[in-house]
């Protein structure tokens, strides 16, 4: 492959010079340039990463797609199933409800943290420096540092029937509202959503604060001279300048919502009923507890496509506007 790449110039500028023509100062350097132009050295540098990517990402991906066409329990003989598993994913009412749950979680995992993050970021923007700024950033970012499993456990204590949330409610005379938030059919999914919002709010805020610090102060000055208040300033200057950061926030959080597993597994195990079961949890259950590797793989492929479907438009929108 090296010789093929080396002997054929990429032909970027019309007629490419032949290697042995004396227009080049040194043959060795020319060779190196040709290598570089063809991406040879680049490939060498990338090789370890490509290998890891191929073994740990591409191979499992290919295998998952392959498994999705079989009925297989993970050990025994696999039987060809064609598209049956995909048909099940799109017709089983339980599986459709589970995918629906993930879409609901997008509101909590994605829209809430980004909206709140924007608000918090514009409030703390002015205090990014000094000890206080560091404290604020640390506190906000803490949920990102805490393992999701620990967060799930802590929150299931807070939200339990005798947990802090209900204690506070009873203390202020709202005992009638108190309930086992994670065990109640109506509140379980929103309660899980709140945990997710808490985890992801810090990430969004930090990203947005960083983005705001890059905005040219002159823009704000100009807006103020034109008589803009803080609200107008936010919509006219801050928001448009943060397009890319918001795009990143949305992408990361939507993926977190659709592929959520840890928080749900720890706080509710998908219950009560199927109220909080999400695709990630169901894939794991199907593959390991019910031993339907084929159906689990099909659901995984569908989930992957769903993520791509949700994230691609956001990437398009936020990138296209900048260029």
């Amino acid at each position: 492959m090296t010789s093929a790449l080396g002997s054929v110039p990429t032909g970027q500028g019309g007629t490419a010079p032949s290697p042995d023509r004396p227009t080049r100062p040194s043959p060795a350097r020319a060779h190196r340039r040709r290598w570089a132009r063809a991406g040879g050295t680049g490939w060498l540098f990338v090789l370890p990463a490509v290998l890891m990517y191929a073994v740990f990402v591409l191979r499992p991906l290919a295998l998952t797609i392959q498994y999705s066409f079989y009925n297989w329990n993970g050990i025994g003989v696999a039987r060809w199933a064609g598209l049956d598993n995909y048909l099940t994913v799109f017709t089983d009412s339980d599986l459709l409800k589970i995918i629906g749950n993930a879409l609901v979680l997008i509101v909590f995992f994605s829209f809430v943290p980004v909206a709140l993050g924007l608000l918090v970021a514009s409030l703390v923007r002015r205090i990014t420096t000094g000890v206080f700024g560091t404290v604020v950033r640390t506190v906000l970012f803490l949920p990102q540092v805490i393992p999701l499993v620990a967060a799930g456990i802590a929150w299931s204590w807070l939200l339990s029937s005798n947990g802090l949330v209900n204690q506070v409610l009873r203390a202020v005379g709202l005992g009638g509202v108190a309930r086992a938030w994670l065990g109640d059919f109506d509140t379980a999914l929103p309660a899980v959503g709140v945990i997710g919002a808490w985890v992801l709010l810090g990430l969004c805020t930090i990203l947005l604060v960083t983005g705001m610090s890059k905005i040219d102060p002159a823009l704000y000055e100009a807006a103020r001279l034109d008589g803009a208040g803080p609200v107008r300033e936010f919509f006219a200057v801050t928001l448009p300048s943060l397009r890319q950061e918001i795009g990143v926030c949305l992408t990361v959080t939507i993926i977190a919502a659709l592929a959520s597993f840890d928080i749900v597994y720890i706080s509710t195990s998908g219950g009560p009923g199927l109220q909080t079961t999400v695709p990630g949890l169901e894939i794991y259950r199907l593959a390991f507890s019910q031993r339907q590797v084929g159906l689990a793989s099909a659901l995984a492929v569908v989930l992957m496509l769903l993520v791509v479907l949700c994230v691609l438009p956001i990437q398009r929108l936020t990138r296209g506007d900048k260029s």
């Binding site: 050990i75 003989v77 219950g271 009560p272 009923g273 507890s289 031993r291």
Partner: protein, 452 residues
């Protein structure tokens, strides 16, 4: 002119790994095993332990100290045998067992989930030769019936022997003696009607009638099956669990049991937050004197004697009419020998020893809190009088005499508990599912799994 070629080679360079992978993935045929010849039960086995130093690999359950205690005692008696014990939560073992047993490091002795799939996949050692060699026919047949699976992993309850129990557990109702006194319960209820009276009394006295978990896995399936066992022929329940052809969950008995559970839920006999309560929280609440009754098994006896000494009693779930036959869920703590085990003879020697050695039987009672099983002519070691352990042991013997042991409906298939019973039971007690719907949903999942 060179341009298309260059582009081509570049593209090839990019695509090569992806293509290679795609080819590698699809070139190999279907995943999984080929149809391998089954290992028959006719191999010759030895009942000699020998004196060569060996290490038995054991895969046991976290929170089940009996296995390790027995292993330690065995090493004390037979210093040439050491144990290497790996522990996991039971649910993790359920998920891992097939892959662990198919691997090259397959354990010799493993705590088993439902065995049918493992037999089907040829991962377990057939214990029939040991059954003959050790004379296990002297054990009561009912003790080992749950450990039998028909050829090729068809029905359970008949066919070859695939596992043994390290302790044989019994389930029933634990009660808090102080609270019992408070609601005027002088002796365990003799009928379901009496039991329901006590529930009502407790409710009106402001005592939580039943402390039961229903998060993660449906703990309310305990009272449900206790009722179902009484409302119909328990043999019908057993047939369904053993996957006998034609067996169904959609029976009048199951429906009546489900209706009763719904009634109890509506009356507030279960904790209001049962769907948010896991097993550990249930035991914790019961120990805090919150709850008159708790449906559970004798594996908690030793623990309850420690945390609330003298304050706990136990009875087998009462019969529908006075003087009827007691039926209870009772199952061996199943351990099997891997098909790829390196020391199967020593593993079988250990299992036989655990049933017959006097010290081992005492450990089973003291630490495991359950009957050691074994031949019916061996005495069951006594527990200290006045303990709940003594009561559960007595109940276990009584159940044996009445021949009333059935397996758990949760063990009917590998996925029935997680896929149907748990979510549907959570719905039922929250008023999101009807009794008719519950029975039909469980049967539908069962039929779906068996059709695979």
């Amino acid at each position: 002119m060179a341009t298309p070629l260059a582009r081509f080679s570049r593209r090839t360079a990019l695509l090569a790994p992806v293509l290679a992978l795609g080819l590698a993935a699809t070139a190999c045929s279907a995943p999984g095993a080929d149809d391998a010849p089954r290992t028959g039960g006719d191999a010759t086995v030895s009942t000699e332990l020998g004196s060569d130093p060996i290490t038995l690999e054991m895969y046991a359950e976290t929170g089940f100290p009996l296995a390790k205690a027995l292993a330690d005692e065995f090493t004390k008696q037979h210093p040439n045998v050491k144990f290497n014990i790996r522990e996991d939560q039971f649910t993790v073992i359920v998920e891992n067992a097939p892959r662990v047993m198919a691997s090259d490091n397959s354990p010799d002795i493993i705590r088993l989930p439902t065995m049918v799939d493992l037999v089907k996949d040829d991962l377990l050692k057939n214990l029939d030769p040991y059954f003959t060699a050790y004379g296990w026919d002297k054990f009561p047949a009912s003790q080992l019936v749950q450990l039998r699976v028909g050829d090729g992993g068809t029905t359970r309850g008949t066919g070859s022997l695939w596992g043994m129990g390290l302790g044989y557990s019994v389930t029933g109702v634990f009660y808090n003696k102080k609270l019992a006194e408070q609601v005027g319960m002088t002796q365990p209820p003799a009928t379901i009607a009496e039991f329901e009276e006590l529930l009502a009394k407790a409710k009106s006295a402001g005592v939580q009638p039943i402390m039961q978990f229903n998060k993660n896995t449906a703990g309310i399936n305990f009272p449900h099956q206790a009722l179902q066992n009484q409302f119909g022929d328990p043999a019908q329940v057993a047939d369904w669990i053993f996957q006998k052809p034609g067996a169904t969950f959609d029976t009048p008995a199951a429906l009546k049991a489900t209706q009763t559970i719904q009634k109890w839920a509506q009356a507030g006999y279960f904790p209001k937050d049962a769907n948010a309560l896991d097993y550990a929280s249930m035991v914790g609440e019961f120990q805090k004197n919150n709850g008159l009754f708790m449906f559970n098994g004798d594996w908690e006896s030793a623990n309850l004697d420690k945390t609330m000494p003298g304050n706990v009693g136990f009875f087998l779930f009462p019969t529908e009419s006075a003087g009827g036959k007691h039926v209870a869920m009772s199952a061996p703590n199943t351990f099997g020998i891997g098909a790829k085990a390196k020391n199967p003879d020593a593993a079988a020697y250990f299992l036989n020893w655990a049933h017959t050695n006097a010290t081992a039987r005492e450990i089973a009672v003291k630490i495991g809190g359950s009957s050691p099983g074994g031949p019916s002519d061996l005495p069951v070691p006594a527990a200290a009088p006045g303990t709940v352990l003594a009561e559960t042991l007595k109940a276990s013997q009584q159940l044996g005499e009445e021949n009333g042991a059935v397996d758990f409906t949760a063990n009917a298939t590998g996925g029935i508990f997680a896929a149907a019973i748990t979510p549907e039971m959570q719905k039922l007690i929250a008023g999101q599912q009807t009794p008719e719907g519950y029975v039909k949903a469980v049967q539908a999942e069962y039929a779906k799994e068996l059709s695979r």
